[in-house]
């Protein structure tokens, strides 16, 4: 599959991230989700600031709601929110907190923060779209490898696989932060339940774009995006 080539991430997002963090030293690559988010919004998702309420838009659900700086930077870069919102992260009047709130931020599909809620909401979104005959939109949901510890995910993984929800793509950003790891690999948790899986370099835009646009009729798809292990 061919996808548009990427706009370079760092020149666009670096200054925005610095507005959020006030931190000159943190390179964009330090943000584990940055490249995935950029590829999604730059090359994959059929959504724009003008279509945030369109019934047939693609959906992106950030399940792993913590550390949303990269998410906010991408939303600002793509015009969903004004850049100046980035200057007052989690301030008393700010719409941007350390976990996003869908009622406060245009383009944010779900409020998240407590882990293990996004995948179930994504499954329901797929089912709601299907029930209304909206078969074009795809639903993407981003999780972390440690987030998979939450049992609610496994309810959704099993059900989505068993019922073949092929409009659903989960992305697991794997920085190996799960306390007890995932022996046998993360992808196997999905594939044993009937999903297809791609494991890619979480900073390689072309690999990500290819994996995120892969479609297998009758099966949900998971993209495991491997990034540098979290350092403690």
């Amino acid at each position: 599959m061919t996808t548009p080539s990427s706009t370079p991430t760092r020149p666009v997002l670096g200054p925005l991230l610095r507005r959020l963090t006030g931190d000159e030293k943190h390179a964009p690559s330090a943000h584990s989700t940055l490249d995935v988010l950029w590829v999604l919004y730059d090359r994959v998702l059929r959504i724009s600031p003008e279509t945030v309420d369109a019934p047939d838009r693609d959906r992106f659900l950030l399940s792993k709601g913590h550390g949303p700086a990269a998410y906010y930077a991408v939303l600002a870069a793509k015009g969903f929110i004004p850049e100046h919102w980035l200057d007052d992260l989690a301030g008393p009047e700010s719409r941007l907190g350390h976990h996003p709130d869908r009622l406060l931020v245009p383009g944010v599909e779900i409020g998240s923060g407590s882990l293990g809620h996004g995948l179930g909401l994504a499954v329901g979104t797929v089912l709601g779209l299907r029930a209304q005959g909206l078969t074009e939109p795809r639903v993407y949901v981003l999780l972390g490898d440690a987030e998979l510890d939450e049992g609610a995910n496994h309810e959704a993984i099993a059900y989505a696989g068993a019922t073949g929800l092929d409009a659903l793509t989960a992305i697991v950003v794997d920085n190996r932060s799960a306390s007890h790891g995932w022996p046998g690999g993360i992808a196997s948790r999905f594939t044993v339940n009937g999903w297809t899986a791609s494991t890619v370099d979480g900073h390689d835009h072309d690999e990500l774009a290819e994996a995120l646009t892969t479609r297998h009729p009758g099966r949900p798809h998971v993209v495991v995006a491997a990034v540098a292990p979290k350092e403690y």
């Binding site: 019934p55 709130d101 869908r102 009622l103 599909e109 779900i110 409020g111 407590s114 293990g116 809620h117 995948l119 179930g120 909401l121 994504a122 499954v123 329901g124 979104t125 797929v126 089912l127 709601g128 779209l129 299907r130 029930a131 209304q132 909206l134 049992g151 609610a152 309810e155 959704a156 099993a158 059900y159 068993a162």
Partner: protein
């Protein structure tokens, strides 16, 4: 009441394309035909209650009107965080319909009892709570709930009153005492034992199947004429955890001198099986127990 729920929901699925039913195996056998007719809107996720409510949240985000159903303890207690975050926090609603109210499932033991469900729903925002006292009250409540997008909890029970009172969304006087009579409010199926308990007592009995929002204005109208020497007495008889509505009444009557007795299911895990009638007796919610408590309170 479960039959009324099944019939009305089946009709809604047939006639309103916005309606979707999300099940976690419980009652799935009652919706086999509906599932065959509407496979995209009758969704049994298996024994996965967290997912059941998460799916409801996702459905609602796309504009559908989900009806969620299980035993009360699984639909509410077990999924509390999903109700709080996947519905409330997302700014969407659902209709949660439970069976197995309080000790309806007495023979199944504590794991299937749910006296705390309405108290838990009370910690959420803006929920309407219906506690019908008769199967014939169920269809209108469910149909009305399916028409909008706000959160609704419909709590079905195997305990029933003698007669339906479909119009009792607000307090409805069932028995009128003298102008100085204390007010006794029965919620849902508690009316039946209450009416047997008050023979010969000078009380006004009011009934509602909708404790949230509580009809405070109606209650204030029923309060006996203030007597400087005695604060008016109010007795609340609820089929779930005792005191669940005390805070709501306390706030609603904050400027009115009153005494409140809040009767309901006790907090202790009795570790006993038996029948619902046995549990009613053990919790003092049978006619004799209610009579004892109310007489002692009124003096």
């Amino acid at each position: 009441m479960r039959d009324a729920f099944v019939q009305t929901t089946t009709d809604l699925l047939e006639n309103d394309p916005r309606t979707a039913l999300v099940l976690a195996d419980i009652s799935a056998d009652r919706f086999v035909d509906a599932a065959r007719r509407h496979p995209d809107r009758v969704l049994n996720v298996g024994i996965r209650e967290q997912l059941m409510v998460g799916v409801a949240g996702g459905l609602a985000l796309t504009g559908m009107r989900p009806i969620v159903h299980s035993y009360a303890t699984f639909a509410i207690d077990r999924t509390y965080e999903q109700l709080k975050l996947d519905l409330d926090h997302q700014g969407v609603g659902a209709v949660v319909v439970s069976v197995g109210a309080s000790y309806d499932g007495a023979e199944m033991g504590r794991t299937h009892l749910s006296p705390a469900d309405v108290a838990l729903v009370d910690t959420l925002t803006g929920w309407t709570v219906h506690v019908p006292g008769h199967p014939a009250e169920v269809p209108a409540l469910l149909r009305a709930a399916a028409r909008h997008d706000e959160p609704v909890y419909l709590r079905l029970s195997t305990q029933v009153n003698d007669l339906p009172r479909p119009g009792a969304g607000r307090l409805t006087v069932v028995h009128r005492g003298s102008p100085v009579a204390p007010v006794v409010v029965a919620v849902g199926p508690m009316l039946h034992p209450l009416l047997a308990a008050i023979a010969g007592l000078d009380v006004t009995v009011a009934y509602t199947h909708t404790p949230r929002p509580f009809d405070i204005a109606g209650l204030r109208e029923l309060l006996p004429t203030p007597d400087a020497s005695v604060a008016p007495a109010v007795v609340l008889v609820e089929p779930y955890l005792a005191g669940t509505s005390s805070a709501v009444l306390g706030e609603g009557l904050a400027d009115v001198p009153h005494r409140l007795l809040a009767l309901g299911v006790g907090r202790t895990d009795l570790r006993r099986y038996g029948t619902a009638a046995d549990h009613a007796r053990w919790h003092g919610l049978d006619a004799a127990g209610l009579r004892r408590s109310i007489s002692a309170f009124l003096g």
